[in-house]
């Protein structure tokens, strides 16, 4: 009896997923677009682009953690290596920015496929350790590989002309390109979450043995979401390389992996819009506290502790509870 009702509810969820976005989500996306269009007239564009890149990075990470239930502690590997490849493509190969971003993103996808297919062989806490260890391997590789420039990184990456036409030298022009990339990425993530594929992912997250017994090839779904998440993290990383014209070891360091976990946690795991809020908060905090050195680390640590102990739903999670609608 219960089985029947549950199939029915899943059926309804799938139907809803196919019916399109609920109205309040449309409203939020429109508000985000409007805010994105107005913001560069009020705030410093480079700061805003940093927020956008990290928002996309955090949303990509949240796709894996919040919807796939897989905690990767090594997402800096995809963000950082994409950043290196995009920078190298733009600077040494002389590719145009869209191709540079594409090659960085592809590199992250390949890396995600390689690491993901090994990591999904272990579950739970081991999965986190395996991803962290592989990310550290990527870090050591970036430290020693000849093309990454070691401690200096790849500096003075040219932004070039978009499609050979539009010069991206001005921060203002680049901002709108980054805005388009980020919103495109967010809509794609939204689509993935609310597709039948996303529903199966949720089923696996909630009860893996049951999903297996229903005949789903769980490992394929896990690998697919892992690669998607790595690819989108790579898109964020490549874009970041063009924005700052720099790819460096910071992007592949484990502390970067920690930061993206923190953004997702503070904004709300498993919410569509939470990681955006989290990214905005953490990037703003880093900007204001940049001169205080190690205090940034201490405050980030304190936020981790407070979030885990008292505030596990995150900001958007709490709001979603208030208004009783998923966000």
């Amino acid at each position: 009896m219960t089985a029947v009702t549950e199939t029915e509810t899943t059926g309804i969820a799938v139907q809803q997923a196919r019916a399109g976005m609920p109205l309040h989500h449309v409203a939020i996306f429109v508000a985000l677009l409007a805010a994105g269009l107005v913001a560069p007239f009020l705030l410093y564009p480079v700061f805003l682009m940093k927020v956008l890149c990290f928002a996309l990075f955090a949303c990509a990470f949240n796709l894996l953690l919040g919807y796939g239930g897989l905690l990767s502690f090594g997402h800096a590997a995809y963000f950082g290596s994409a950043s290196y490849i995009a920078a190298h493509a733009a600077k040494v190969w002389g590719l145009s920015p869209e191709l540079a971003i594409l090659s960085g993103t592809l590199a992250a996808a390949v890396l995600g496929l390689a690491i993901g297919s090994l990591a999904i062989r272990r579950q739970g806490i081991y999965f986190a350790m395996v991803t962290l260890a592989f990310a550290q391997m990527v870090f050591f590789f970036s430290l020693q590989a000849p093309f990454t420039g070691g401690e200096d990184g790849i500096q003075a990456v040219p932004r070039g002309n978009l499609f050979g036409l539009l010069s991206l030298r001005s921060d203002f022009t680049l901002y709108f390109v980054v805005l388009a990339i980020t919103l495109g990425g967010l809509l794609l993530i939204y689509r993935i979450i609310h597709s039948p594929f996303g529903q199966v992912l949720k089923a696996i997250r909630e009860n893996e043995p049951r999903a297996v017994s229903l005949g789903y090839r769980v490992n394929r779904y896990k690998l697919a979401v892992f690669v998607l998440s790595a690819t989108l993290a790579g898109l964020a990383g490549s874009t970041k390389a063009l924005v700052f014209q720099l790819a460096s070891l910071t992007d592949v360091h484990w502390s970067m992996s920690g930061e993206v976990v923190l953004m997702t946690l503070i904004g709300g795991m498993g919410t569509v819009f939470g990681p955006i809020v989290g990214a905005a908060i953490i990037v703003t905090m880093q900007n204001y506290l940049a001169t205080f050195g190690a205090w940034v680390t201490i405050i980030q640590g304190c936020i981790f502790v407070v979030c885990v102990m008292l505030f596990r739903e995150g900001i958007v999670g709490v709001i979603a509870k208030w208004i009783r609608k998923p966000l």
């Binding site: 739970g124 391997m137 020693q144 502790v305 885990v308």
Partner: protein, 295 residues
């Protein structure tokens, strides 16, 4: 003078010794992680910070209170262990009913706080800690020069690891511990205070990490970042060995240290990634780990 595959014996045995020392730290740290994971079901990300704290407390005891190495070797693990007990009681114990990942995130945050505070106070350049006078100098073994202190580190770690193994596998206390790992509710029903046992186990695991930190202090400079990079390698060691067996953790730790040392001799470029490569191979061949039980 004989040569082995074109490598002078001093270099070969020197690196092997260094590998054995790193292996001792891998063994002690992964042992602590395994014990804590067994009973608390969390991965203690703070383990690296607690190892670093052990070295720092030893340095502080010497600098501010004049406590020599031997005093610190006993006192630092106790102090850091007490700090661990406080953290377990105040914070970690409130998370047992939740998903594993919250324990990992909490201890990661704690590690950031500890590292950040020490970096603020002492910088990242590293503080020197002298080798105790009783252990300075070394032995000439003919084929290599063996510094006394390094020999002591290997012997002390082995003794501590084997003692831990003995307590857990062969004593009544260890039997309670293993039983509580299997089924805490049942053990509690027999009148054993499981929450207190959990707290003390965490304290003991942390004290082990601090002990390794004190041993490391005279070899590596005392530095706020010394634990962060080490703990990630130790995670790989734990994945390779599997956390099911105490003896397995010890053997894997020492073994991987040796392999790393050998790589430094024959192919130095790969020495920093060799353990991760081994981890990839183990995941392909035997996903549960060399000594792991499939869940």
């Amino acid at each position: 003078m004989f040569e082995l595959l074109g490598i002078p014996p001093q270099a070969l045995f020197g690196q092997l010794l260094l590998g054995l020392i790193n292996g001792s730290f891998y063994a002690i740290l992964s042992l602590g992680l395994a014990i804590i994971f067994g009973l608390l079901n969390i991965i203690n990300f703070t383990h690296g910070a607690q190892y670093m704290l052990g070295a720092f407390v030893a340095w502080m005891l010497l600098t501010y209170f004049g406590v020599p190495y031997w005093g610190a070797l006993l006192l630092a693990p106790v102090l850091v262990g007490i700090k661990g007990v406080i953290i377990e009681r105040l914070l970690i114990s409130r998370l047992y009913h939740l998903d594993h990942l919250y324990g990992l995130l909490l201890t990661f945050g704690l590690a950031l706080i500890i590292q950040g505070l020490l970096r603020n106070q002492y910088g990242i350049s590293g503080l020197p800690y002298a080798i105790p006078p009783q252990l300075s100098g070394g032995q000439n073994l003919g084929f290599m020069f063996l510094p006394n202190y390094r020999a002591w580190v290997v012997v002390a770690s082995l003794v501590v690891c084997l003692a831990t193994w003995f307590v857990i596998e062969k004593t009544r206390l260890g039997a309670y511990l293993r039983a509580a790992t299997e089924n805490p509710t049942l053990v509690g029903a027999f009148g054993i205070n499981v929450p207190r046992m959990i707290t003390l186990t965490y304290g003991f695991g942390v004290a082990l990490a601090a002990f390794a930190g004190v041993l490391a202090a005279p070899i590596y400079a005392v530095n706020p970042n010394m634990g962060a990079d080490l703990i990630i390698v130790v995670f790989a060691v734990v994945v390779i060995g599997g956390m099911g067996s105490i003896l397995g953790a010890i053997v894997t730790g020492f073994g991987l240290g040796l392999v790393e040392g050998l790589t430094k001799v024959f192919y130095p470029e790969a020495s920093s990634v060799i353990i991760f490569v081994i981890m990839a191979i183990v995941l392909l061949v035997k996903p549960a780990g060399l000594f792991g039980r499939t869940a």
